[in-house]
Amino acid sequence: MSPYGLLPFRFVRFDAARTLVVNEAGEHQFLENDDFTRFVQHELPADSDSYLDLKAKHFLFDSESLAPFELLATKYRTKKAFLEGFTSLQIFVVSLRCEHSCVYCQVSRVSADRVRYDMTEETARRALDLAFRSPAPQLKIELQGGEPLLNFERVRQIVVEGRRRAAEEGRPVAFVVTTNLALLDDDMLLFFREHGVFLSTSLDGPEELHDANRPRPGNDSHARTIANIRRAREALGHDRVAALMTATRRSLQSPREIVDEYVRHGFTSIFLRPLSPYGFALRSARSTGYPMREFLDFYVRALDHILELNAAGTFLVETYAQLLLTRMLTPFTTGYVDLQSPAGAGIGAVVYNYDGDVYASDEARMLAEMGDTRFRLGNVHRDSHESIFGGATLRTIVAASVAESIPGCSDCAFLPWCGADPVHHYATRGDLVPHIPTSDFHEKNFFLFKHLLSLYERSPGARRIFASWIRSGDAA
């Protein structure tokens, strides 16, 4: 009879000599292959280092373990804490219009038709009614488009009414406007300052690359973006303006230049994102798209450069790595809705489109713009909170996105750190449940978990930098 029992865990053959084990709460341990064999055969000596590590991290229990199940259950609950913040992210698409015509843009319309593509006052009010039915202890309201500044009247209404309702309830609320900044004026800046609004913008890299990716009349997107980032920082504060980039095929040639552009303009974070397979992006995939393998090569080169910069004293966080590392190396989860099990679509975030339609995620809305309204949960004018958030559509999304029950995910060592994205897989493969062996979502995340863990294990320098990124995320 074995002197110890196994607690639930999964494993992966990490390299030729070592096996990685990850338990239900996301704690991990590397074992030499021989030790792994002894461990699962209940033959690991109780005085070995591996035994003590595995016991401390809740991979095994023996007669001297103190409340192992209770502690592990608490850790598991902590990892699933995102479920408590039901629909804490509320996204309002206040206009579908935009004066940019970005090569990868999913849905924006260059149109003067305000009546057709702008959110009305009544739609915004009804969407706010639903938003404040959310049980989340704090809310983030994101205003986006198209270009939301083209319907600034609606931005103003939602922020003012949202602030008032939040104050009445005593519930914290944060506002973020996702904008290309090209139309930013002094009145808008004053309003944003008075109401503590954060700005999120797009910066794809150096001028030539940015302007090629993001055409607009006058071909001056980069110049306007940089000038208005500066103005916004002066008016709102440096940390109130964030930027992210989208990689086109052209971008893949310039990882160092893109990173350097962010440093040049004083950013302390960069979010390296592949193209989304939605809307116009899908239609233009032949000219702008690429296999995931090429994006990952780009990512590795960019991350290497970012680590070099950090080692030389320039603090710069890669946001996706920060998200993954937080999930891998801390007891906590993240609010990132695209990497949760069950998926965050419709339960972590919800989207109110300009016409009042409610979607489980921004990607679900983009699919609808292509004519597929499968993930429409309802409409703010016609449907109740109960039917929108308790209906068959959302239940189907949630049921299909429990990674613990997805073939290929259920056995994966990285499951406690990962998640599911049913809308992505439906858009790319026509099925909410992914075929993991050929999924680009799996390819990306599996590779990055291994890559980050390899860096963390073999490089004390990378380990220190990653720890500083996790700490900066705690502070944010």
Partner: protein, 112 residues
């Protein structure tokens, strides 16, 4: 095409199917009964230009790991279920129709 015969006394069908799954990225995988206590697995390359070199050894290792996973899952299943139940015990997972129904009610239509 590469064919491998498996003794189900060593590797249960559940482990065989789990081991096959990752191979479906590069192969069409056909699992067929091969008489009592045996199955054969045929690997047909998706890309005709990539011959099935090394598949037997790779699959044999995958089978071992799949079998190990089923053993670990079986040994820890009750604890895993207990953990999840305990982690979410504060959530209201009960079907209130049963809890709150009076003695005359038949919420699950047991009486037909």
């Amino acid at each position: 095409m590469s064919t491998i015969t498996i003794d189900l006394a060593v590797y249960p069908l559940d482990a065989v199917l789990r081991a096959c799954h990752p191979f479906t990225a590069r192969w069409y995988v056909h699992v067929r009964s091969a008489g009592e206590g045996q199955v054969t697995v045929d690997f047909e390359p998706r890309d005709e230009n990539k011959p099935p070199r090394g598949i037997a050894g790779e699959f044999a290792n995958a089978l071992l790991d799949a079998r190990l996973r089923t053993l670990i899952a079986a040994e820890t299943r009750e604890i895993r279920e207990l953990l999840v139940a305990q982690a979410f015990c504060e959530a209201d997972l009960l079907d209130r129709r049963d809890v709150e129904a009076d003695e005359q009610a038949d919420p699950r239509r047991i009486a037909g």
